[in-house]
Amino acid sequence: MNHRYRLCMKTCFQTETKRMAEITIRDAIRQAIDEEMTRDERVFLIGEEVAEYNGAYKVSRGLLEKYGDMRIKDTPITELGFTGLGVGAALAGLRPIVEWMTFNFALLALDQVINNAAKMRYMSGGQFSCPIVFRGPNGPAEYLSSQHSQALQSFFVHIPGLKVVAPSTAYDAKGLIKSAIRDNNPVVVLESELAYGWKGEVPEEEYLVPFGKADVKREGKDVSIIVHGKPLRMVLEAADILATEGISVEVVDLRSLSPLDEETIEQTVQKTNRAVVVDESWPMCSVGSHVVSVISQRCFFDLDAPVALISSEHVPMPYNHTLELAAQPTVEKIVNAAKQVCYK
């Protein structure tokens, strides 16, 4: 079994190398976990369905065969329990990766994350560190209604002591998760169900993506669109449409939400003098609204127009599909907001 898997992986890798290693975000995350588990035997994966079922979204496919059930650990449906187990293991010297099937279920585990993981280094006066990764899909997918369609980044970004990252390309996913596993602090990785299948180029040689560095995904001069996570795709599509109308868009992907790269935000707004912030979460006390506040503090005299915020509507997610889409950011909304701040 183990042998057969390895052979299979080898063939996979060879084909991928020939195609300049264009892989899905799902595979990029698995590669990151796989490489770090090989590199450091203290790393292990724990969560619901991560072992026998290869992960609810097949992120951990093949890892049970490769590393065995001591390091790829299925749990009962007890988020608070297995998250607490992970925190305890981290304090005891291991480097757990806790997979939450989705962040909607992670609400049950927040006490362990906020009161234990985020506080231990501080409250022990530095005697304990808590090197743990919490990861899983965050944000709406489709047809899942209110309780299972939530973008909950604010819950984590709000808390000092946690680092929070939101990759939206295969390259960033692999590099950020490797950094997260190696970090000596609790790191929350916000993935996206609908983005697991997105493909992107990933180099064969090892690399890390540092925290606290936003990435300019597209350069432009007329308006900055600042985004994180899954809506990046909509923003890039909107930028293409706007380019045909003569508006040059600079797209900044925050990647790291905490720490936040305020310098890059300032630089892009100083360059374009106009900003649209896109966040698929709700507008109040959100990452998006915080970015708007950063812009108003650091770039007030560089602004030629009020900053626009495109977020989800402040409502529970409707089940009706038309309303579901209407409640979220769309390409059209982003295009219109960009035109508005350009007075076009």
Binding site: F301, A305, Y343
Partner: protein
């Protein structure tokens, strides 16, 4: 608890200062003794050293703004703290501004010189809507924002309007328009102090011509022996004036209202041009110093003037002042007394001049005309006459000093 940082008097005569540069910014934590900003006082640019500590949460007077002593220039406190209630209410200050603006606005209308009707007083810069960026760009480029046409929503002025702005061409385009220069701290101080002096002190003037033959010869022979640091003529003037003041101390004095102060030390100021104003660096105690010492002190002071690093201690309290415009070819002039002194010596150009001597023979001599301006409240004509006669005699025959 938020704390106010106020403008303090950085020189004894400073009422107001212009902030040239902030050395600290919002978010910086400052300690006692840290330099907060550089301030142009009435005489020099000075470092503002903090006597408070804490985190700067707001800067109230930006670079380029003027602040009266006591005005709030920054706020210390903790980030996010509300400090609005600590600031003076905007109504009181803005109503003053509005009043002066209104006055200014009516002036052209009453002049009646414009044949066409003056444009109606439009929206003022304050009420006209503009993006923060447009406002900033307009202020950098010196564009009056109220004269810009806005193309944004509801006529809002945005960046492209500033970029597209063309100033209205003047009808008499061949004539250079008027320029208004804001009065800086130095200029205001010069204006105030010298007006005070000229209006309060009854000036009178004594002129003499001094034959410079011997001084020129003495200086040339002295400098011949020196490889470098040749001694300048001004050091000679300071030295001879000091000797004359020793003999005639009433010219080294000050009117104090109900007393007259006669200074113990002879501290001579020399007016030095710095392009946009003048300063009078002082060589202290000239009475007890030789020409070489005076010359080297003066060189250091002039260097400080050029670098803008002169401190109030270097220019405050001259007991006597010398002003020399000889290098501009000025033959003679009358200077305004530099308070707190009671006399100033204005020195003209030294010029080859035909002179008739006692025997009725004409010879060519290097003649320098000097004018002593005197404050009659302290210095009467006869005493001033004795002073200047001594000075003339001593300079024409330097051996005099020894007697």
């Amino acid at each position: 608890m938020a704390e106010l940082v106020q403008m303090v008097a950085l020189s004894p005569t400073m009422d107001e200062g212009v902030i040239l540069e902030w050395k600290k910014s919002v978010g910086d934590v400052i300690a006692v003794g840290d330099v907060l900003c550089e301030v142009e006082t009435d005489k020099a640019s000075m470092d503002y050293e903090s006597n408070q500590k804490g985190e700067i949460i707001a800067i109230i007077k930006d670079k380029g703004n003027s602040a009266k002593v006591g005005d709030v220039i920054a706020i210390l406190g903790s980030k996010g703290e509300d400090y609005a209630h600590l600031l003076p209410s905007p109504e009181s200050s803005s109503s003053q501004t509005n009043a002066s603006e209104a006055q200014a606005d009516t002036t052209p209308a009453t002049s009646g010189l414009n044949s066409t009707a003056p444009s109606p007083i439009g929206e003022s810069a304050k009420t006209k809507k503009a993006s923060p960026l447009a406002r900033k760009l307009a202020s950098i480029q010196g564009i009056d924002i109220s004269s810009v046409q806005g193309s944004g929503p509801n006529g809002k002025i945005i960046k492209r309007d500033i970029e597209a702005y063309q100033p209205q061409p003047s009808r008499t385009s061949s004539v250079q328009g008027d320029t208004e220069i804001p009065v800086t701290g130095t200029r205001a101080a010069i204006a105030r102090r010298l007006s005070e002096s000229k209006f309060a002190a009854p000036h009178y003037y004594l002129k003499v011509s001094i034959d410079m033959t011997r001084i020129i010869a003495a200086r040339a022979s002295f400098n011949k022996k020196r490889q470098k640091n040749k001694v300048g003529m001004n050091a000679f003037f300071l030295k001879f004036v000091a000797e004359a003041l020793k003999k005639h101390p009433m010219a080294n004095a000050s009117w104090q209202g109900d007393t007259i102060k006669i200074y113990g030390s002879i501290d001579i100021g020399t007016a030095v041009d710095r392009g946009n104003g003048l300063l009078t660096p002082i060589v202290r105690d000239c009475g007890n110093k030789g020409i070489v010492d005076i010359d080297s002190e003066l060189s250091v002071l002039i260097e400080k003037v050029n670098e803008g690093t002169l401190r109030p201690g270097d220019y405050t309290g001259a007991t006597f002042t010398i002003s020399n415009l000889g290098s501009f070819g000025v033959e003679e002039f009358s200077a305004i007394i530099n308070p707190p002194g009671v006399a100033i010596l204005a020195i003209g150009q030294t010029k080859q001049t035909p002179v008739v001597d006692e025997k009725g023979e004409i010879s060519i001599r290097p003649i320098m005309k000097v004018t002593l301006s005197c404050d009659h409240r302290v210095l009467d004509g006869a005493e001033a006459g004795r002073f200047i006669a001594y000075l003339k005699a001593a300079m024409e025959d330097p051996m005099q000093i020894l007697f």
